[in-house]
Symmetry: C2
Subunit: 473 residues, 2 copies
């Protein structure tokens, strides 16, 4: 068997099942599940109707590239949603359908990473990442020394590939990196960093080895949104150090302030004059936008040179989308009002739940997604287990979504390996002190507001009562 | 980008499109497509009805392992179809749903192959491959010298992994091997070998490096069926040389003699006393059995130790089957009469088409699948292009489905590399002479009998007329 499989971590929900084993919740309370990020709103009737009306199209193999009308619907939605110039996203070369973002994120890393350490694209940029006076090295405007082309000597371990990702994270990022033969490198997202990765804290030696940077905005589990300026800074770094940015934007339609939709990575590209989306690929999904997690429909968009190679990979990978699913997806991407109503329901849940929880725990209103990420003032595993035992309510320990890291931010590159090799999530207290290992998810839990408004309110009341009556921290 | 992508060959249909470009077929004849192996019979109404009735189940994420009822339906079908003892296929540990066999064949090789050359399982067998007197080395019964444990020294190139496959083949086998970091090794299937790979012609040095052996029965494109004895011989070799057999049985429900259904690999395991299906995984699909190629539904079954690791891989790989598709698949696997009627239609096509073609070309009745694989008595590319230009009928050049090979069967292992690196399919005449490179698909075309009976008859008449009037070979 492939020995890289040995490096995979247990999935958080396997660990959660073990944690809950043996605990007996009160029989008089119905169970409320808030651990899984699975949308539970009613799927839009017109999407199911379109699917139903096209089931006779199951008699033919779907093409990996998908139907032109699906790629067009996705391109037009991107332009509409992110205020991109009309026609700036080419349905011919810049969009590919995928069977959900999990499949796509995983396959993308397999297709992109060179385990031998060679970089993704020619290292001399031909497009300025930020508009401004063109010089021989347009990226040099911040006064950093111009870097020589990164050496790619075969057999050198100095350039063993890294995949950078937020920590805590969606675990597929880590598994995709490991199975592609790269080392995951964790970027802690804590209250101190505004729940976003601190790009300026990443050592240059790490950037030189970086092949893929995962960004997730709004973030899972923090709900933090990356600003346009942040994304442009990431673009600069991608140009300078020759890596690809994988923008996981599956939560981008779920935000709390109707006047401030989260910006997207392609939007940052356009703002920076990078109108071919060079080095950038974004991942979108109908699971959250249209509450159809079981449909398995999403798309990737961005750099046509990368997507061309990704399409080649996908021809073998074999995850073409069934035609009826494609046609239902066309309907879903073309229609916005159902997404507004879907978002409104989440906004209502936050409005109802936060006033109940704020008096009893340290919890902030996120900018987007559908999670609460409170500090429980103690061991997150014990909190989760006791809450289940007392209130028949399941949340997810934050430490299960992260890895221990930050033993010493020396950038030697041993970091990722160390983080991976350690056993995370046994309730270690997050200290943030350099030189001390800590798990940035420890002491927090992830609460998914996916159930109905009424159930979420009921859950908040149970958590409040638990905190008042049962929890000593 | 992953440099292994550079090693992939153009897909046969891309090459076919280039071959046909510029040719102008007669406007008065409607096009008949016979190049793609895409079933076109009407999907069974009850399968679509079950799908339709369960679309409300799209509101939840499917689990990678699938529903127990789907795994049970698959297990019971295997037992019924192959005459296995009741309960011999465990739905708990020996079956996994997949989104079609393409996705599964590809992912399986990624999960199984160790590019470092270590073997798949402990090399000392604990189960006798064939019933008989137990000795310290039960595989030694044929008088071969007992082999030492295969060395797995890291860095040794002597054990760089090979994936063995029939030639011609389903191109996914080759791409999966290349992307997994293994070298494809081609086993020519020609009239001289009865259109099956000659296992006894494989040098021991090749077996020692073999990690996966692909077998396809009934074969694509030859339609040849592997006997139970043949499969047991393959099992012996798998035990002796410590490799995995991937049995592609997606055509197993399509056969011409109702009294002789093709045997399956798991059936051979049971016959050999290997009741845990050690080292064996089979790939099945509803695409051909139930004429629902667009449903993307199949399953794998076999060795629980291998499937356990494959399930772990698939958790990240992310190709879980939507729940409505799973439920429609349960209905399809539980019902056999529609598969009988489906098969009858193919049998009728062979009965109608062969009498038209036999007088004018060298074409044999296959044992299974839905292809004709005739010798066209000349260059297969030119035949294909001229047939299209004269008769508006598309077939697939046989050379596109195979690689040049057999420069010298010395087993040095350079073989696979050479075959890959060469440019196949330019109409080289197959000679079969050792030391002479040849493409075992050259001089033949693949004709898919997927259209209606009437269209297939019309196509046969056009081919007959073309051969009589237009083709000089």
């Amino acid at each position: 068997m492939n020995p890289r499989l040995e490096r995979l971590h247990a999935y958080p929900f396997e660990r959660l099942a073990r944690l809950k084993a043996g605990a007996v919740p009160p029989a008089n309370l119905p169970h409320i599940g808030m651990s899984i990020g699975e949308p539970q709103h009613t799927p839009p009737a017109f999407v199911l109707e379109t699917l139903r009306a096209n089931l006779d199209r199951l008699g033919s193999y779907p093409a990996t590239a998908g139907l032109l009308e699906l790629r067009s619907a996705c391109a037009r939605w991107l332009e509409r949603r992110f205020g991109l110039p009309a026609g700036s996203v080419s349905e011919d070369s810049m969009v590919l359908p995928v069977n959900g973002t999990r499949e796509a994120l995983f396959a993308f890393v397999q297709a992109v990473v060179d385990p031998g350490g060679k970089k993704s694209r020619p290292s001399l940029p031909t497009v300025a990442a930020t508009p401004g006076p063109t010089t021989l090295d347009p990226l040099d405007k911040k006064g950093r020394p111009s870097l020589p082309t990164v050496a790619t000597a075969p057999g050198s371990t100095a350039l063993d590939p890294l995949v950078l990702m937020p920590n805590p994270f969606y675990q597929i990022y880590e598994g995709a990196a490991l199975l592609a033969g790269a080392e995951p490198y964790m970027l802690d997202t804590t209250a101190a960093t505004g729940y976003t990765p601190d790009l300026d804290a990443v050592p240059e030696a790490v950037w030189r080895r970086c092949q893929v940077l995962f960004l997730c905005s709004p973030g899972n589990p923090t709900g933090a949104v990356l600003s346009l300026e942040y994304l442009r800074r990431a673009l600069d770094l991608a140009e300078r150090y020759d890596f690809v940015i994988a923008g996981d934007e599956c939560y981008t339609e779920l935000y709390l302030d109707e006047d401030a939709p989260p910006p997207g990575l392609l939007q940052a590209c356009i703002a920076a004059g990078n109108d071919r989306f060079r080095r950038c690929v974004v991942f979108h999904s109908l699971s959250k936008r249209s509450s159809v997690p079981g449909l398995r429909s999403g798309f990737v968009a961005g750099d046509p040179e990368i997507l061309k190679r990704f399409l080649l990979y996908r021809t073998y990978h074999g995850s073409a989308m069934p035609v009826p699913t494609q046609l239902a997806s066309v309907a879903a991407w073309q229609e916005d009002s159902h997404a507004v109503e879907n978002r409104r329901l989440y906004q209502e849940k936050f409005s109802r739940v936060l006033p109940i929880l704020r008096p009893v725990m340290n919890v902030e209103k996120p900018a987007g997604a559908f999670y609460l990420w409170p500090d429980v003032g103690g061991d997150d595993e014990r909190f989760t287990r006791e809450l289940f035992a007392r209130k028949n309510l399941t949340v997810l320990p934050g430490s299960y979504l992260a890895r221990e890291s930050a033993e010493a931010r020396d950038g030697s590159g041993g970091h990722g390996t160390e983080a991976r090799a350690s056993s995370a999530g046994h309730g270690a207290v997050a200290t943030g002190t350099p030189g001390v290992r800590f798990n940035p998810g420890a002491g927090r839990v992830r609460i998914s507001l996916v159930a109905s408004v009424q159930q979420c309110v009921e859950a908040a009341e149970r958590i409040r009562d638990f905190l008042r009556q049962d929890w000593a921290g």
